[in-house]
């Protein structure tokens, strides 16, 4: 064999190139096909993006690290379908930047929690978990009752629309007032909110006090929306062996 003078071990650049070649194939092979996935797994046409209030709640969910103990991914296993509901579809989290599928269940999975508990239950549970669930080991979040900072909402929606989330220009410009409208049923902005987000998002005083827009409003609005952004078929897929 031709005795290469600069064989692999001696020339560090050769080693660098070989490492990159070796380390790149695994990623490309598994990630590239996922970007043409919408030819097979399309985004459900009835999937709605988060409203500004729900998005603010999602940011609080991330800020407080709730994802560290709560997953949002019902697996296709019998006991999970019985415990939590229909298993999560890929299209459901298509607008989630970043996805919050999670990796640990110190607490229960939340993918289908929307509408299962009352707003009142969520508020009391978040402020003092043990007052509602005596054996709970969840931390308390009393500071969520402070008012919600809506300063970044418009820019947030604009950034997300750049990433492909369907926010119209009116949605982006009126993000802050829409967040207020969604937590104040009798306010006069609710018609504008309905015009932009149609019928599905709930308009309620999530934290129980319509006069104030608090972080609790946002977080409870987000929790109540989990699993309701698109109607997920109840059918259980039969394992087809390819």
């Amino acid at each position: 064999m031709l005795k290469l003078h600069y064989n692999l071990e001696r020339v560090s650049m050769g080693l660098v190139a070989a490492i990159i070649i070796a380390a790149s194939v695994g990623g490309i092979v598994e990630i590239a096909p996922l970007f043409t996935i919408d030819e097979t797994v399309e985004v459900p046409d009835d999937l709605r993006p988060h409203t500004p209030l729900e998005l603010a709640g999602r940011e609080i969910f991330i800020r407080e690290g709730c994802y560290a103990c709560h997953s949002q991914m019902v697996r296709s296993l019998a006991d999970e379908i019985d415990r939590y509901g229909p298993y999560s579809q890929a299209g459901e989290s298509a607008y989630d930047h970043p996805m919050l599928w999670g990796s640990k269940r110190t607490g229960p999975d939340l993918a289908r929690i929307g509408g299962k508990y009352s707003d009142e239950w969520h508020v009391r549970h978040l402020i003092d978990p043990r007052s509602v669930v005596p054996a709970s080991i969840m931390p308390a979040y009393p500071w969520l009752l402070k008012s919600l900072d809506t300063d970044l909402l418009t820019d947030s929606l604009a950034t997300l629309s750049e990433l492909g989330v369907p926010y119209s220009d009116e949605m982006i410009t009126s993000a802050a007032s829409d967040a207020l409208a969604q937590s104040r049923p009798d306010s006069n902005e609710t018609d504008g909110f309905r015009a932009r987000y149609e019928e599905r998002p709930a308009i309620r005083a999530f934290d129980g006090d319509p006069a104030r827009l608090t972080e609790m409003d946002a977080l409870v609005a987000y929790l109540q929306a989990l699993g309701t952004l698109t109607v997920v078929s109840e059918t259980v897929v039969v394992e087809v062996d390819e």
Partner: protein, 53 residues
């Protein structure tokens, strides 16, 4: 680049890449002409006094 084509590629090219890479590594490593170099390399980090066997 349809999804099926990409899927087909990822199920074949990756494994061919694996076999090819594996063969190259085996040939280069167990090439008899390099046996001495590797024996010396293993000792290269030891202070010369402790150079046993």
């Amino acid at each position: 680049m349809t999804h099926d084509l990409l899927l087909y590629l990822s199920k074949t090219v990756g494994l061919i890449w694996l076999m090819g890479f594996f063969l190259i590594v085996i040939i280069r490593t167990y090439n008899p002409s390099r046996r001495a170099a590797y024996r010396a390399a293993a000792r290269s980090i030891l202070p010369d006094g402790m150079d046993k066997e």
